[in-house]
């Protein structure tokens, strides 16, 4: 995920929003969470992560505050705003529709072979 394309970038935003949906998280922890949740498949490069976080904050979907992290370091924690929640819901629905559509298309093509 070093060179994000449009699709991947949009997906990254969704993944980030999902990662902070449960509770506020700082940047490093967000990267970790995405990695763990994807079973070590998706590794988020900091070079893509931080600009996306700043963009989401600027859009008003995330809100940031400085708190102490679990190992007692001051870190910038991001949390979902109500608008962000709405946006995430919409994106998830879109994604699921797309994923199932692609799955369906693949299956149809395969069986028709």
């Amino acid at each position: 995920m070093s060179k994000p394309t449009n699709l991947v970038q949009g997906t990254l935003a969704m993944l980030i929003l999902k990662a902070v949906a449960a509770e506020p998280q700082h940047g490093w922890a967000i990267g970790q969470r995405i990695r763990q949740a994807s079973g070590n498949v998706l590794r988020v490069n900091p070079g893509a992560l931080y600009p996306t976080l700043h963009r989401l904050e600027q859009e008003g979907w995330l809100e940031a505050s400085w708190r102490n992290s679990e190992n007692n370091r001051r870190a910038k924690f991001y949390e979902l705003t109500p608008e962000g929640k709405k946006f995430l819901k919409k994106e998830e629905a879109n994604w699921e529709r797309l994923a199932s559509a692609i799955g369906l298309a693949l299956k149809t093509v395969t069986s028709g072979y």
Partner: protein, 912 residues
């Protein structure tokens, strides 16, 4: 694609709710963006902290999994990639990078301009003149065509209703009072009110009296317009009655302020209007001018109409010298102008319709451009011309910027090599243009403010009421113009300065680009010359019109001629009393030293044409002819300065007791008795068929000079002695003016005359004395205006074009110093150099002149109706304009060539 799909099915939201959501979100993100801009330093620190925290977390994790701290750190840094790059991308994501860059460009541009103050001052002044002229002119357009009169409710519902003469489509429809009264009680489509505006009257008594502009209106006038009074009330219905009610007046705000000091207890006070005592019942709000745009000092109820022919009480009079009223109506709800017009056409009684006229309903404001005077139309043209001037100004600044950019190619090339993109370089130059535009715009506001009194005096119709000149609308326009001018000036230089050939510059040094870029600059110069020619042709056409109008043989001598009038309301004075009063005034005027001749004439200002029957000696009707009759006292021709072409003038001996006589104008004589001697012929005028012998012929007197009227002859006229008029059954209204020819014209003489006349004026009424030349001046005003303004702008354009040519040539000469030096070293004479430089400049000047002439040919056609005695494609005017332009271009070229000739080959060759 999928995100698009997603957006369409956004769940239960309606479209409106979604749109609302979007706007809310937009305002929120803008707020966030502004916040990060304002807290730039804090945000920057936080970014550092955040990334450091990330590093620390990564290192801590690696160390926990058994790595050495050094190795962990190395890997963590590696993973992040370029720290600075990540920061830069974060900054980008926050979206204030562009703003920061632009801020940098602005300060850089300002610094560059500060370093060359000469260039900056010239450019800013040029733009200030161009933009300033446009602000002023747009103010004129705004006043004439866009702004609405104040204090009128729903002005789009107002219409004029009445009759228009077919050939006079430029005036509002009118009705006589009786027709208005009939219509207002029968009209179902609108509520109607009548007005007679622009009535000259006087305020006060005796020597303290002043001239005012009054308006007669029907009592419901204020109600129909939807205007409420500042003080007191409007007229009530009882005041519509001719007699029996006390004379009242509603004062205009300005008169109330200036003459009565804004007295709050003015209601019930008695004031003198037109020599008559009236009670003030109301004061109109500030800026209220009725449905028109001319300032009004006082409104009088319609009993003031009484005595005018056509008023109900005297309606048995024939329609000579009728007072025509403008009828304003407010359309009832749901009625369109077309419906109203159709209804009026069917209900209006046939016998009301004057021969040769049409029944019309016209929207008051939507059709106002049709009713503009020719001066006002010239003003609109000048507004268009000011746009051309702004264009020329932009071209000049553009040209100046191009020259500067050529000097700064090294700087640009270096910046490009250091990684600046083309867009970035273009933006830099454009911002310099915009900075000039902004400074020019600010200075332009000053120019417009300074020019405001001139604009008011020359470009707006006389008496035009206009409250706030620099409105918010105009300020917004000024800002837009400044931005536009900045962009227009900067665009070509920006394109040129950032071009891909820039890279070569560094390798080639100064000499590699002598000619490159001059093509664009020449194109700009050609444009300038073309536009300047266009304006020069316009100025020439108006100057010729003005000269034609000024040198026109009017048939009379307007110099040293005064017209004196006294306001004698006919409800107080019988016709006999009025005649007696004028006879007394006339007798008194003759005694004033310096007065040569005095005469009385009726129909001095009202132009009425009627058909009369000409009979030969045998008594048979030969012709019907439209002519303008005048009943005059015997001294009339001498007073007006009219020559007697044949026969004799009217004499004191032509009385009621002697045989009827007449004097005819030249063109009438030619039309009725072609090739014959008119003296002794018999003509019949009026109702009783009495034969009047023609005793004299006078030149055609041309009391009006109208634009576009070069083909129209003077109206046919004939003159009969006042003393014989009644006996012939000709209806002669009372004389309405005294004509006084003086020897010389001094203020003292006018003062003496004023005092003398007022001493015998009935009840010491106000006597107004106006020089005849002043009345003629107002008729030639549109050409004077066109000639002076086109001339002014044309001159400005000429100067700018000359500077443009000189600038390009001087620049080329400077760049080619070495080349010229070599040529001279190889034996070229200064004359060769002169020929080379001038030849190059004049080539483009000729092209500009040709293109400008083509454009002028296409555009001046539109001026046709505003010219006098000259065609829109007058070859002499075109030739003269071309010659003037060629001479100016030649002078500019010669100056540049002179500098080239002085190049010393020795110095030039060592210079590199």
């Amino acid at each position: 694609m999928w995100s698009l799909l997603g957006r369409h099915k956004a769940g239960p939201h309606t479209f409106e709710a979604l749109a609302e959501d979007e706007t809310m979100r937009w305002t929120k993100t803008m707020r966030l963006r502004a916040k990060s801009l304002l807290r730039r330093r804090a945000v920057e620190n936080e970014l550092d902290d955040e990334l450091r925290a990330h590093l620390d977390h990564t290192i801590a994790e690696r160390v926990a999994s058994g790595m050495t701290p050094e190795e962990a750190r190395r890997q963590a840094l590696l993973e992040i990639g370029g720290m600075e790059q990540v920061k830069e991308e974060c900054r980008d994501a926050r979206g204030w990078r562009l703003v920061a860059d632009i801020g940098h460009d602005v300060s850089y541009g300002a610094r560059m301009l500060r370093h060359s103050p000469g260039f900056a001052v010239v450019a800013v002044l040029t733009l200030a003149l161009g933009i300033g002229a446009n602000i002023s002119m747009l103010g004129v357009v705004d006043a004439l065509l866009v702004s609405m009169p104040a204090h009128i409710r729903a002005p789009e519902q107002l219409v004029y209703a009445g009759q228009v003469w077919k050939q006079e489509s430029t005036v509002a429809p009118v009705l006589i009072y009786g027709q208005y009264q009939w219509l207002s009680s029968h009209c179902r489509f609108a509520e109607l009110a009548a007005e007679e505006s622009g009535v000259e009257s006087s305020f006060g008594k005796g020597a303290d009296s002043r001239r005012i502009s009054a308006e007669y209106v029907s009592p419901n006038y204020f109600h129909v317009l939807g205007a409420s009074m500042l003080l007191g009330r409007a007229f009530d219905a009882a005041e519509d009655q001719p007699r029996g009610s006390e004379p009242v007046v509603v004062l205009g705000y300005d008169l109330w302020q200036s003459a009565l000091g804004g007295d709050p207890k003015v209601l019930g006070r008695t004031v003198w209007i037109g020599g008559e005592a009236r009670t003030v019942v109301g004061v109109a709000p500030k800026g209220f001018t009725g449905a028109g745009f001319l300032g009004v000092d006082a409104w009088l109820p319609p009993h003031a109409f009484e005595g005018f022919p056509g008023f109900p009480s005297t309606s048995q009079q024939p329609p000579v010298g009728q007072l025509f009223l403008t009828v304003v109506g407010r359309l009832r709800k749901g009625v369109t102008v077309q419906q109203a017009a159709a209804e009026l056409a069917t209900t209006f009684p046939r016998d009301f319709v004057e021969p040769g006229s049409l029944v019309r309903v016209e929207p008051v404001f939507a059709s106002r451009w049709k009713m503009l005077s020719s001066s006002a139309r010239v003003s609109l043209w000048i507004a268009g011309v000011s746009l051309v001037v702004l264009l020329i100004a932009c071209v000049n600044v553009s040209s100046l910027l191009l020259a500067r950019m050529a000097q700064r190619r090294h700087e640009m090339a270096i910046r490009q090599h250091l990684g600046a993109t083309r867009g970035r370089l273009m933006r830099q130059v454009l911002i310099e243009g915009l900075l000039l535009g902004a400074a020019g715009g600010a200075a332009a506001l000053l120019v417009a403010l300074l020019a405001q009194p001139l604009v008011r005096a020359f470009l707006l119709p006389e008496g035009f009421y206009e409250s706030s000149f620099l409105s918010g609308r105009l300020l917004a326009l000024a800002v837009a113009l400044a931005a536009l001018a900045g962009c227009a000036s900067g665009l070509a230089p920006a394109w040129r300065a950032s071009g891909p050939k820039l890279a070569k510059t560094l390798k080639q040094g100064e000499r590699g680009h002598t000619r490159e870029g001059s093509g664009l600059r020449w194109a700009l110069v050609v444009t300038q010359i073309g536009l300047a020619l266009l304006l020069a042709v316009g100025a020439g056409l108006f100057i010729r019109s003005l000269r034609n109008a000024d040198t026109l043989d009017l048939g009379i001598d307007p110099n040293h001629l005064l017209q004196a009038t006294v306001d004698l309301p006919s409800q107080e004075f019988s016709p006999a009393e009025i005649s007696a009063a004028y006879a007394r005034l006339s007798g008194r005027a003759k005694q004033v030293p310096g007065v040569a001749d005095v005469a009385l004439a009726n129909m001095l200002t009202v132009r009425t044409e009627f058909t009369f029957t000409e009979r030969s000696d045998s008594g048979k009707t030969l012709l019907r002819w439209t002519a303008m009759p005048r009943a005059v006292t015997p001294g009339y021709f001498a007073a007006m300065g009219m020559r007697i072409l044949a026969g004799r003038p009217l004499l004191d001996s032509d009385t009621e007791a002697t045989a009827p006589v007449a004097v005819v104008s030249e063109s009438l004589a030619r039309a009725i008795w072609p090739g014959q001697r008119p003296i002794g012929k018999c003509m019949t005028t009026g109702i009783t068929p009495v034969c009047a012998r023609v005793v004299g012929v006078v030149p055609d007197a041309w009391p009006t000079v109208s634009p576009g009227g070069q083909g129209r002859g003077a109206p046919a006229q004939f003159y009969i002695p006042v003393g014989q008029a009644k006996a012939r059954g000709t209806i002669v209204p009372s004389p309405d003016g005294l004509l006084i020819r003086t020897r010389g014209e001094t203020p003292a003489l006018t003062r003496n005359l004023f005092a003398a006349l007022e001493s015998v004026s009935p009840g010491g009424r106000y006597v107004s004395i106006v020089p005849y030349t002043q009345m003629l001046d107002s008729q030639t005003r549109s050409w004077r205006l066109g000639a002076s303004m086109f001339g002014l702008f044309g001159g400005l354009a000429l100067v700018l074009a000359a500077i443009g040519i000189y600038g390009v040539l001087a620049f080329l000469v400077r760049q080619r110093t070495a080349e010229i030096g070599v040529r001279m070293a190889l034996g070229a004479t200064p004359r060769d150099v002169l020929r080379m430089v001038v030849g190059e400049g004049m080539k483009f000047a000729a092209l500009g002149i040709a293109l400008g002439a083509g454009a002028a040919l296409a555009l001046t056609r539109l001026l046709k109706s505003l010219l006098y005695g000259v065609t829109a494609t007058d070859p002499w005017t075109f030739a003269a304009a071309a010659v003037v332009l060629a001479l100016v271009a030649l002078a500019a070229c010669a100056l540049a060539a002179w500098r080239a000739m002085r190049i010393d080959p020795n110095v030039a060759l060592r210079h590199e």
